[in-house]
């Protein structure tokens, strides 16, 4: 389902159009394929240069798979990725290598992502030796440069990862990502493994580096507070799909999807005071057997009969604000929606416009 994109003059740095990734589910004799796990199912987003796009969702919703698709770790099952206006599928080998150098990951756990047997110098220079034809002196200069940029000292290059604290290790992972001079950095839960008192330091560092080097971020996290703080635009994922996407402040002020509201209620204890308390029954649906209709309906406090049958498409309900929910069906076109009838027959208040709902 194509989403109408925001019209901008600029070519986006990265554009994902309806990307998909299915994994075969095998069991039984001869590992017969018994089904497909639709980890990422029809996801679209754009990242402009200098911008941060935040992907938020719970475990298993496909946000890390999305990151791996962008990093070309996984092949796309469907859809396409455009980098600076060009389809990645049409890249030559050399262009693909150049693309890989201009997107770099920072992963959740720096203890796992830094090789314990390598010195910091070798860890940071590894991406450089693959992608840049630099001589030894230039490499050393680059190492000193990126270490200074992340708030460490050039002398640290001769140490091993275990000699650093968790926060410092994450700084090293960031330095490694910076070494190839990337345009886009994929931040996959960059602070969730860090101590509470260290998190703010790393967030400040990331925001500072973005301004300094004009970086773009694809930020993946489960904590909405972090996402809101760092992103200009946010996509909320649930079981393989983006169910709501909006500029971050717009999302906070006018969250539309019941799932987004529940995430806000979980992230901010005071959020529920200005609207209804939303705790969700049950658990995140399995991507192997997603529920028919809207994937969220078994947990949704506002589920209607239609939600069990028809999957809602993304609809624009505000400036760059899209939501996939039957409550907002036709909100833009007509200004009114028919009164949906709940399963128990009780009429639900018609939702005219999300802004009038009294958030």
């Amino acid at each position: 389902m194509p989403v109408e994109r925001v019209k901008t003059d600029r070519v986006p740095l990265l554009e994902a159009r309806n990307i998909k990734r299915y994994f075969p589910f095998k069991n039984g004799l001869f590992a017969k394929v018994n089904g497909w796990i639709k980890s990422v199912d029809d996801v679209s987003f754009t990242i402009h240069s200098g911008e941060t796009f935040g992907l938020v969702g719970e475990s298993g919703c496909g946000k890390s798979t999305t990151a791996k698709l962008v990093l070309l770790i996984y092949e796309l099952t469907g859809g396409s990725l455009y980098f600076e206006g060009k389809n990645i599928a049409q890249y030559s080998y050399a262009e693909r290598q150049a693309y890989r150098a201009s997107i770099q990951p920072v992963l959740q756990d720096p203890t796992g992502s830094l090789n314990p047997r390598l010195r910091i110098r070798n860890i940071i220079s590894e991406p450089l030796t693959v992608s840049h034809g630099l001589n030894r002196r230039q490499v050393n200069e680059r190492i000193a440069e990126v270490l200074t940029a992340v708030g460490l000292r050039p002398e640290h290059a001769k140490f091993f990862p275990h000699e650093f604290s968790g926060g410092q290790r994450q700084r090293i992972a960031i330095a490694r990502a910076l070494s190839t001079n990337p345009k886009l950095i994929i931040l996959d839960e960059p602070i969730s493994s860090l101590d509470v008192s260290i998190r703010a330091q790393v967030m400040n560092l990331l925001v500072g580096l973005q301004q300094k080097f004009d970086l773009s971020y694809l930020l993946i996290a489960h904590d909405l507070a972090v996402i809101l703080h760092m992103s200009s635009k946010v996509g909320v994922m649930y079981v393989g799909r983006i169910i709501e996407s909006a500029p971050s402040m717009d999302l906070y002020e006018h969250a539309a999807h019941p799932y987004t509201k529940a995430l806000f209620a979980a992230a901010f204890p005071n959020y529920s005071e200005n609207s209804e308390v939303l705790t969700l029954p049950g658990e995140v649906a399995s991507p192997l057997h997603p529920p028919p209709g809207c994937r969220f309906h078994p947990r949704c406090p506002k589920a209607m009969a239609i939600c069990k049958e028809i999957e809602p498409a993304l609809k624009e309900i505000g400036q760059a604000h899209v939501v996939a929910c039957h409550l907002y069906e036709g909100a833009m076109q007509t200004g009114t929606s028919g009164k949906p009838i709940r399963q128990d027959g009780a009429p639900v208040l018609g939702r005219v416009d999300y802004k009038q709902e009294g958030f």
């Binding site: 509470v196 008192s197 400040n204 799932y259 901010f268 308390v277 995140v284």
Partner: protein, 343 residues
């Protein structure tokens, strides 16, 4: 859905309870010291912790990793791995008796009966090769001498209490057939199966998804009101203690640095560490602003000097902080703080 069970208690209750005298304390920990004797030195995980808990109260023990909050919980149950750990000082009074002087046999009878625990990871507290129902009824057998059939029925009742749908059928399943949230609720059913008076919940929500966390907290609050169990809630997340706890104790490097009623500690903290910690959390609308971060790192727990452990990272620290250990100062009847420059 409108039931705000998450904000568990009402203020009336709180006032009633705070007027109860100190003698009524269910649990009173005084100057507890638990050290770990390692080759590279002594780790003073718990270094003079004192607090008390009244019947039916929920106390949040908040701190970063390695601040000693879990070891405090384990010390109450006397489950500190020995060697290398050892409780070297202090008292743990539970219902007026000092647990640290009890024999191992007496402790064994208390654990899982009067005092129970919920661990962070439900998989570590459930046996993968036994059915859920058997595991719950095994826990019931520790406190009630009833026959197998009755125990099974009681187990199903417990599963119903923690809101497992169709508990009769679910009792026949194995842990791997349940989701993480359900497993954690089963662990809760086991912990509460003997109508314990004290529950030590060690990060019970950390392994759960964010929306499942909220549901679990709500359930825990409801069960607490139903059974009147007192809870020591160990967590690193201020967002969670705010929702469920009556009082908060903030720990740093083996010591409690600030205690007080939840609203005071989260809204008007007086210890610089608590203030800085609360300040460093991003708030909506703070986008792009520099967060007020705490510089430096938590101290190396080995061979800690006898001064204020937070001093090297504190904006208010002076020479006195670097040389002396501040005593615990009582601010009013409910709050206390360990700082020379509190307020």
């Amino acid at each position: 859905m409108r039931d705000s069970g998450v904000k568990v208690r009402d203020i009336q209750n709180k006032e009633k309870r705070s007027s109860v005298e100190m003698n009524d304390a269910l649990l009173r920990v005084t100057d507890l010291k638990t050290y770990f004797f390692l080759r590279r030195g002594i780790v003073k995980s718990v270094n003079g912790v004192s607090f008390s808990l009244k019947k039916g109260e929920i106390l949040g023990l908040v701190g970063e990793s390695a601040c000693g909050k879990t070891v405090t919980g384990l010390s109450i149950l006397r489950l500190v791995p020995d060697p290398p750990g050892k409780i070297v000082g202090g008292h743990v009074y539970f219902e007026g008796q000092d647990l640290l002087t009890k024999s191992e046999e007496e402790m064994r009878r208390l654990r899982g009966y009067k005092i129970t625990m919920i661990q962070q990871n439900p998989d570590s507290s459930l046996n993968p090769v036994f059915r859920i129902g058997d595991q719950v009824s095994e826990a019931i057998a520790t406190c009630q001498e009833i026959d197998k059939k009755e125990r099974w029925e009681k187990a199903i009742e417990m599963l119903h209490l923690v809101r497992i749908a169709s508990p009769g059928l679910r009792a026949l399943e194995y842990p791997h057939q349940m989701s993480g949230g359900m497993r954690q609720r089963v662990a809760g059913a086991i912990a509460l199966s003997c109508e314990a008076n004290l529950l030590i919940a060690d990060e019970p929500t950390t392994s759960l998804d964010v929306t499942t966390q909220l549901e679990y907290l709500k359930l825990l609050g409801e069960i607490q009101r139903k059974t009147g169990v007192a809870i020591v809630f160990i967590t690193h997340d201020f967002g969670i203690v705010e929702r469920i706890c009556d009082r908060i104790a903030v720990m740093y490097a083996g010591r409690i640095v600030e205690t007080g009623p939840t609203t005071y500690v989260t809204k008007k903290p007086i210890h610089p560490y608590t203030m800085a910690l609360l300040d460093s959390v991003p708030k909506p609308g703070s986008k792009g602003d520099l967060l007020r971060s705490i510089e430096g790192q938590p101290p190396d727990p080995v061979n800690l000097p006898e001064n204020c452990a937070f001093a090297p990272r504190c904006s208010r620290a002076d020479t006195r902080c670097l040389n002396e250990l501040p005593e615990e100062t009582v601010i009013d009847s409910q709050r206390s703080v360990r700082c020379f420059h509190a307020g």
